[in-house]
Amino acid sequence: MEKQAQVRREARWREDFPIDWERDHYITRREMAKFLTLGSALLAGMSTAIAVVARWFGRAPAGGAAVLVGRASSIPTGGSVLFRYPTEEDPCILVRGSDGVLRAFSQVCTHLSCAVVHRPAEGGLFCPCHHGWFDAASGIPTAGPPTRRLPRIRLEVVGDGVYAVGKEV
């Protein structure tokens, strides 16, 4: 009786380690399907985890309170002013382009978070860390490693005051 049970156990593990080639292909393909499905479960879990993180810890779109960031008359064409919006931990840059229009962007490079600087001669915002360039009119990356645009700060000009009123991500 004990010997029969042992033979049955032995036959069981031998099923997954066959000698016959055809049987071996059968087993490896079956196991491959199982492992791929396990990978699929892991990927679904990770996507769900990202959704949970976004739901509970995602940042709400900034906006609301208007913050005075500078005086329009004090910024010449090609000039720039640094300010922080919406919190003290969010550095931003206000630039007046060659067309005379005021625009503001986050100063944090979308590549590796260095601070970008305004280069009016080239008409762009330059990241000195890895030589990334952004268009000063739109914030779109034009050269170097950055692939995402700089978040734009919505502005309102009231009288001579320039106010930041929201952030577009």
Binding site: I19, H25, Y26, R30, A33, L36, T37, A51, G58, V169
Partner: protein
């Protein structure tokens, strides 16, 4: 065509299908992560739902694999019981591949 050969063809096709769906899930994960870091939170939930649906599809395909494998095992056990020999085709321990 005998059962193992049918199984090889079936599992290869199903494996290919599952691999394709897994690649789509990888793309969804990368897109969701990029959206999260970029602040586009609205994209993340549909990506997670789509990934879960793909996983369910993969689970269904795996059930097909398991069902087929169970039938093969049952048929093998019945055949062995009828003939009084050990199951699994290599229970004797002797190689029967190409020599």
């Amino acid at each position: 065509m005998d059962a193992p050969r049918q199984g090889i063809a079936l599992f290869s096709a199903i494996g290919l299908l599952i691999a394709t769906l897994v690649i789509i899930q990888l793309w969804l994960l990368a897109a969701a992560l990029d959206a999260l870091l970029g602040g586009h939170v609205a994209v993340v939930l549909p990506a997670a739902v789509a990934s879960m649906l793909l996983f369910l599809a993969n689970g269904g395909l795996l059930l097909l694999v398991r069902g087929f494998d169970r039938r093969v095992r049952t048929a093998g056990a019945d055949g062995a019981a009828g003939s009084g020999v050990a199951t699994s085709g290599q229970g004797s321990g002797e190689p029967n591949g190409p020599s």
